[in-house]
């Protein structure tokens, strides 16, 4: 075969050489590289622009005071910069959101993937995803005007108008679609053979779903949880509208609280002088938020990898 090819190509030219230049390949390569580079550069830019004012902030306020004291009063005559109340606010509201969203989100996912008829699934999944498209400010007013007013007040008469509970509940509702949709994708990807295997042993639908399908989809489900939690931690509008803007070192969800995000939003919108210490505190809190989210993502990647190794 080779012989005939060489004979038909006189002049000793390699018959396998590229004959047509492929400019399109080069162009697409450059464009795609540029696309990737933009997002990487932007991330770098953000990190640097947050880092510099933060470092200036920590030059004035010791990092130990920032992290370990419990009064956050940057706008007072005698300002104090203990960030713990903001962390507490974020923690309490995120926890409430997670307690709402994980059972409901996972429950919806199991229903959609294992119980719903194909017809029902076709209607329900897009409907659920519409929930994800509602602007968060709408959720915020829903928390303030409806959940607090008509659901929580009758149960807890002493509840404050701005409170962590309503913000947490509504934030939980907001992230249900994220958790449900991604978990459902993970469960739908479990091979049908595994379900057959369970049914063939006399397992019920529930035993098949909970003891075979969910464990098999665990890495995807964990990733869905973490993404949902990250969204909750970073969510700003709901807490700004419904949770109040008072830093509050408490675990009582019936009181108002301020989160890291709502401090950034409120202080950024107020008239703080550029270069002032209050101004720099916005970036310090932003940096902390960034570190926490980054750490969570690392943990989630680790977890997902661990399950992958164990189960594949």
């Amino acid at each position: 075969m080779t012989t005939t090819l060489v004979e038909s190509a006189p002049g000793g030219l390699n018959p396998l050489r590229q004959t047509k230049p492929r400019y399109g390949e080069k162009v697409i390569r450059v464009i795609l590289f540029a696309a990737a580079a933009v997002s990487i550069l932007t991330t770098f830019g953000i990190v640097i622009s947050v880092l510099i004012p933060s470092l200036e902030f920590f030059a004035e306020i010791p990092i130990t005071e920032f992290l370990f004291t419990t009064t956050w009063t940057p706008l007072f005559a005698n300002p104090q910069y203990g960030v713990l109340p903001l962390i507490m606010g974020t923690l309490v509201i995120t926890l409430i959101a997670v307690l709402i969203a994980i059972p409901l989100g996972l429950g919806s996912a199991i229903y959609l993937s294992e119980y719903a008829s194909p017809k029902a699934r076709k209607v329900l999944k897009p409907t659920l995803e519409v929930l994800a498209g509602i602007p968060t400010v709408v959720f915020g007013f829903f928390a303030l005007e409806f959940i607090t007013e008509f659901v929580l007040k009758p149960i807890f008469p002493g509840i404050q108008v701005f409170n962590a509970l309503s913000a947490g509940i509504v934030m939980g509702i907001m992230i249900i679609p994220t958790i449900a949709s991604l978990s459902e994708d993970a469960m739908a990807a479990v091979p049908a053979g595994l379900r057959d295997g369970a049914y063939a042993l006399g397992a019920t639908k529930r035993q098949t779903a909970l003891r075979v399908v969910v464990p098999a989809a665990l890495s995807g489900i964990v990733a869905a949880f973490v993404l949902g939690i990250s969204r909750a931690i970073g969510e700003t509008m709901i807490v700004t509208v419904a949770a109040g803007l008072q830093p509050n070192m408490t675990l009582n969800p019936l009181e108002g609280m301020q989160t890291m995000t709502s401090y950034i939003a409120a202080a950024g919108a107020g008239d703080v002088a550029t270069g002032s210490i209050e101004y720099k505190s916005i970036f310090a809190v932003g940096l902390l938020l960034f570190v926490i989210t980054f750490f969570m993502n690392m943990v989630s990647i680790r977890l997902v990898r661990k399950y992958r190794q164990a189960y594949q």
Binding site: S117, P118, P191, G193, L194, R195, D196, G197, A198, Y199, A200, L201, G202, A203, T204, Q207, R211, V212, P215, A216, A310, Y311, Q312
Partner: protein
């Protein structure tokens, strides 16, 4: 391990038929058995299986004998898997699938309205073509069935017993906590068999259990099947006629008929003792198929 091949250049059709026949006969073992099944486990009368309006299996009447290995052979798409899955109501899981006629297990119609498919599947286990081990440890794979069925047993003993019966214990006894995915394909299939017998079924249905395995792993599963047949009734679908000849006491040959509208319906052509089916088939279609003239 010789397989049946379509000869590359047969000198004549009769020659080819001879070769094919002789190849299979070499694998035949055991003594002649009666044409009639004496100890009946499954009794099928005019069984039809539908997917929606499509009749995939048409009018099957046959009996499956206790502690025998019964092989289903025939070309792809003739309804072997469909029929097998109706034995333990696995077809219930496919929307639109339905069974007509009488399919009796020890005299009880398994499609009677008061029958619980979960009870049926506990007594009639199934092993699939692709080893479908669960993403759990080897131990947990075997323990899953007894756990979901609420069996009160010493789980460690049961796991050891089943893995031993499935000829896997010696290979995995130090790795019981390891993921089942770490096993080879052949080991996984033996694990699936161990998992299946852990719920103490009476019947094991196997749908091309060796189709994804190499010859050595296949030989191990075949030995295992013969060993298990002492205690279990086994029905196996296989594409490999050598395998049917090697392991089974009885063989059912299925094919697909094309109706006036061009739709293919599976039907049972011939059923009898394996030795007889392979040496003296009554139906010319069986003869053609086993001798290599597929169709």
């Amino acid at each position: 391990m010789s397989e049946i091949h379509e000869p590359d250049a047969p000198q004549s059709t009769s020659d080819m038929a001879m070769t094919g026949r002789m190849d299979v006969s070499a694998a035949l073992e055991g003594v002649d058995i009666s044409e009639t099944v004496s100890n009946i486990v499954f009794d099928l009368a005019n069984v039809r299986v539908f997917y929606g309006d499509f009749e995939a299996v048409r009018d099957v009447t046959m009996q499956i004998g206790r502690n025998e290995i019964t092989a289903f052979i025939g070309p792809s798409g003739c309804g072997k898997s469909t029929l097998l899955r109706s034995f333990n109501r696995m077809n219930d899981l496919i929307p639109g699938a339905r069974v007509e006629g009488l399919l009796a297990y020890h005299g009880f119609d398994i499609y009677a309205p008061d029958v619980d498919p979960i009870e049926v599947r506990r007594r009639i286990g199934m092993v699939f073509q692709k080893p479908n081990v669960f993403p759990k440890s080897i131990y947990e794979n075997v323990a899953y069935g007894p756990k979901v069925n609420g069996m009160k047993v010493n789980m460690d003993d049961l796991v050891e017993e089943c893995l031993t019966r499935a000829a896997l214990w010696d290979e995995v006894k130090d790795d019981l906590k390891k993921s089942a995915y770490a096993l080879s394909g052949g080991q996984q299939q033996r694990l699936v068999i161990a998992r299946c017998i852990a719920v103490k079924p009476e019947v094991i249905l196997m749908d091309e259990p060796c189709a994804s395995l190499d010859p050595i792993a296949t030989a191990k599963i075949e030995d295992l099947m013969k060993e298990l047949a002492k205690d279990y009734t086994i029905v196996i679908v296989t594409h490999n006629m050598q395998q049917a000849a090697r392991v089974s006491e009885r063989t059912a040959f299925f094919t697909a008929d094309v109706d006036a509208n061009g739709v293919r319906h599976g039907r049972l052509v011939e059923y009898g003792p394996t030795r007889r089916i392979f040496t003296a088939p009554h139906d010319p279609r069986t003869e053609d198929y086993i001798s290599g003239r597929f169709g």
